[in-house]
């Protein structure tokens, strides 16, 4: 293996010397590796990270939550329900086949078949190839989220997959899960699942303006956080993610390594089930809980500053972010509200939390339970691994349940669709609303925001929803989980990282 790698690097050096400058090898470690090489099999961070290496999206998010053209050179809105994308000319897949509008249409149709992605693409009624480089998308109504959705279109090589086998298999083997032909900056050279994946730079990559100089990228999944950190500190790997909160200082202070952190977009919340516990049906009790929980304290003490205190679902930068809403910790006020609601003597409630899903999840719940004891709410807390937790969550098995949410569309409406709209088994809305919170106004505004194409009006609607949720204490917002990456000095990860946590490794520069 080693000789092979050396040879590859040497060969790459000669290729690279002609063009871009010295080729580099990147050894990087994540906590897991993607389930599959099929970008449509599972909607998860791991899959998308892989997709950004091996495939290329039509457009992609930039650091300011705007869109950068990738395989789509430009786009124009023809009318309220039609969007036209113009594709880059002369792009080829890893197999050598040229990428055309046909491939894009085929990819979109495949996405609509994928159990994980079909929800996102439900509003796209048709995709048509007008000519080799133009794709026209029609939506079922006016849609403000066409571009958000287009970031999920990673064109796949139609001819390659149709020959090998194109079906999406969630369990069991498939051609697409083991073989890939995209247009991306890297080609998968070898893959031993759960152990090592080796990527080689695509010699025919279309983006010749990319400063990236990584010739070989080797992904080693390292599940155990201390081992991952040790691998970076020992110099065995150049780049790791995620960095656990306990090791932030160590990586920052250590000579030769650096730390990059960002405010994340995953909101951590507690939901109060009004159907299970009648006390929670009274908004004053919910407000009392919001006042009783010191989320600033949780971020400081438990998260060691590795989080951003939240008072709403939408993080800053999202359209629905309402700057007027601020955290409210006030025990006296909480006690007064409890008294007003007729619960001066308190009551008891059950609570369930996962213990390996979110950063410090169970510690947060323990702290919250202790804080609620101060307003005489006696909490019976159960924590469990996520594998057991999710079935319990589906059963709505406790009065208070923890859930963290990251909006797949990077849009505020998504939080409401899943977390705060009235649960409805037929439409799937409110699927993760274990609190059974229901407010027609929230439902109405959220649905309206999904067809409103005027950005200003849309922002006003979504911000109003946040205000209602805040006033009624529909749920207890805790914090947005921060993101952290560690790297060796000279590996310029800060230039390719973003809040979605898709490092654009194709553009990564490693200095000599």
């Amino acid at each position: 293996m080693k000789t092979l790698r050396t040879l590859a690097t040497a060969a790459a050096f000669f290729v690279g010397a002609a063009g871009l400058g010295a080729a580099q090898t990147l050894n990087f470690a994540y906590d897991a590796d993607p389930v599959s090489l099929d970008p449509h099999e599972q909607l998860s961070g791991g899959t998308l990270q892989m997709a950004h290496m091996v495939f290329d999206p039509l457009i992609r998010w930039n650091k300011d939550l705007g869109f950068d053209p990738r395989l789509a050179e430009s786009w124009e809105r023809v009318d309220d329900t039609t969007m036209r994308f113009t594709l880059r000319d002369g792009v080829t897949f890893h197999s050598g086949n040229p990428m055309t509008a046909e491939d894009v249409v085929w990819t979109i149709e495949r996405l609509k078949e994928s159990p994980d992605f079909k929800g996102i693409f439900a509003g796209w009624v048709s995709a048509t190839a007008l000519d080799d480089t133009t794709v026209e998308i029609k939506t079922d109504g006016p849609s403000p989220l066409v571009l958000h959705t287009a970031t999920y279109v990673f064109p796949m090589d139609k001819a390659f997959y149709e020959e090998g086998g194109a079906e999406i298999v969630k369990h069991g083997d498939s051609f697409a899960s083991q073989n890939a032909s995209g247009t991306g900056p890297f080609i998968v050279e070898s893959r031993e699942q759960g152990v090592k994946t080796v990527f080689q730079r695509n010699p025919n990559y279309w983006d010749t303006a990319s400063p990236g100089n990584v010739q070989t990228a080797i992904l080693t999944p390292i599940k155990e956080a201390p081992t991952r950190v040790a691998a970076l500190l020992a110099g065995d790997v150049d780049f790791i993610a995620p960095v656990p909160p306990t090791d932030l200082d160590r990586i920052r202070d250590n000579d030769g390594t650096k730390l990059v952190t960002m405010t994340g977009t995953r909101i951590i919340t507690l939901q109060l089930n009004q159907k299970r516990n009648e006390a929670f049906a009274d908004p004053r009790v919910r407000q009392a809980i919001a006042y009783a929980i010191n989320n600033e304290g949780i971020v400081d003490k438990i998260m060691k500053g590795f989080g951003t205190v939240a008072a709403q679902q939408s993080p800053a930068g999202y359209v629905g972010y309402n700057p007027d809403l601020t955290p409210r910790f006030d025990v006296a006020k909480a006690q007064a509200l409890m008294e007003e609601a007729g619960y001066a003597d308190g009551f008891s409630a059950t609570m369930m939390c996962p213990n390996n899903r979110y950063v410090n999840d169970y510690k947060i719940c323990e702290a919250a339970a202790a804080m609620l004891a101060k307003i005489k709410i006696d909490i019976d807390l159960t924590t469990m691994p996520k594998a057991q937790y999710w079935p319990k969550f589906d059963e709505r098995a406790a009065d208070i349940m923890m859930i963290g949410w990251h909006s797949d569309t990077e849009d505020s409406a998504n939080f409401n669709e899943f977390l705060t709209m009235t649960p409805d088994a037929d439409t799937g809305r409110g699927q993760y609303n274990s609190g059974n919170y229901s407010n027609p106004k929230v439902d109405e505004l959220t649905l309206a925001s999904l067809t409103e194409t005027d950005p200003a009006k849309r922002a006003a609607m979504l911000q109003e929803v946040e205000k209602i949720l805040y006033d009624e204490a529909a749920f207890i917002p805790l914090h947005w989980q921060d993101l952290a990456w560690g790297a060796r000095e000279g590996v310029m990860i800060e230039d390719v990282l973003n809040v979605m946590n898709f490092p654009y490794l194709g553009d990564l520069v490693i200095e000599e």
């Binding site: 293996m1 080693k2 389930v35 599959s36 599972q42 909607l43 998860s44 159990p115 994980d116 929800g119 996102i120 298999v169 969630k170 369990h171 069991g172 083997d173 498939s174 899960s177 031993e192 699942q193 759960g194 152990v195 090592k196 080693t220 390292i222 599940k223 155990e224 201390p226 081992t227 040790a230 691998a231 500190l233 020992a234 110099g235 065995d236 390996n356 691994p385 996520k386 594998a387 057991q388 937790y389 999710w390 079935p391 589906d394 949410w405 990251h406 797949d408 899943f418 088994a425 799937g428 699927q431 993760y432």
Partner: protein
Amino acid sequence: MHILAFLIRRAAQAMVVMFVISIIGFSIQDNLGDPLRELVGQSVSEAEREALRDELGLNDPFLVQYARFLGNAVQGDLGTSYFFKRPAIEVILDKFPATFELVLGAVFIFVSVSIPAGIYCAIHRDSWLSRIIMTGSIVGISIPVFLTAIFMVWLFGVELGWLPAFGRGDTVTLPWGWDTGFLTWDGISHLILPSITLSSIMLPLFIRLIRAEMLEAMGTDYVRFARAKGLSTWRVRYVHAFRNTLLPVVTVGGLMIGTLIAYTILTETVFQWPGMGFLFLEAVNRVDTPLIIAYIIVVGLIFVVVNTIVDFIYTLINPMVKLPGAKG
């Protein structure tokens, strides 16, 4: 002939053991969590998940599921891993060489350290070195293995930077498909920390055991008689006395294989060693039930095989011992 009878009997026992294990494994699988959650993204609807669950046959009654499993199992198919999307047994066998070499490394270390140390401590009971070894072994026995592991990573991997702290390094594929790390320096250097860690659980115990057995043997009549006969001290100690300490050591060693397998799970996880133990813990985290059940069945088989080998070794060490169940 009696060896054959013994083997047949053992094979029958192995079948029973694995059958029982499979029932236990199967009946706990519902408590391991919902595998669907690990297969799909967060926004997939409940109806969609239900349809997948049906497709996987997870909604069938227990007996139907078990009968189906058993039917496939007798044909050598223990199910398909949800994560690896390959037959579970194949995935496990792929990881077997890594675990086997790790265990071999650990056994090599504790045999080559515990035998000399145990004998030394028995013969030079009151020397200062014996005291250090005996005190050290008490400390060693009381440190949990994951602490040893993390300490090793920190000291040799990070602070001193002498040895790699994760993975298996470069391996060479032998003609029969076995990936070995023994043939490259990189592979061996990766093996050092994990195998020291793994041996650290057994080492103190074996030093104490060998010392105690050796002390006892040195006081027996036949040793005193051998001395009286004028045999050399060397011969008395290492041939007569030592050989008789081996029987209990092998017995305990055989029993400890189970412990060793259990500890490979911890050791492999900390060192990211791509073996069966690491695979198992990951499978539990991902609720990869077919892989979990296949693993415990394979481990059950390893137990039976190891104990059979231990019984054979008995007869080699002490010809007076008969193979269990064989008529002499």
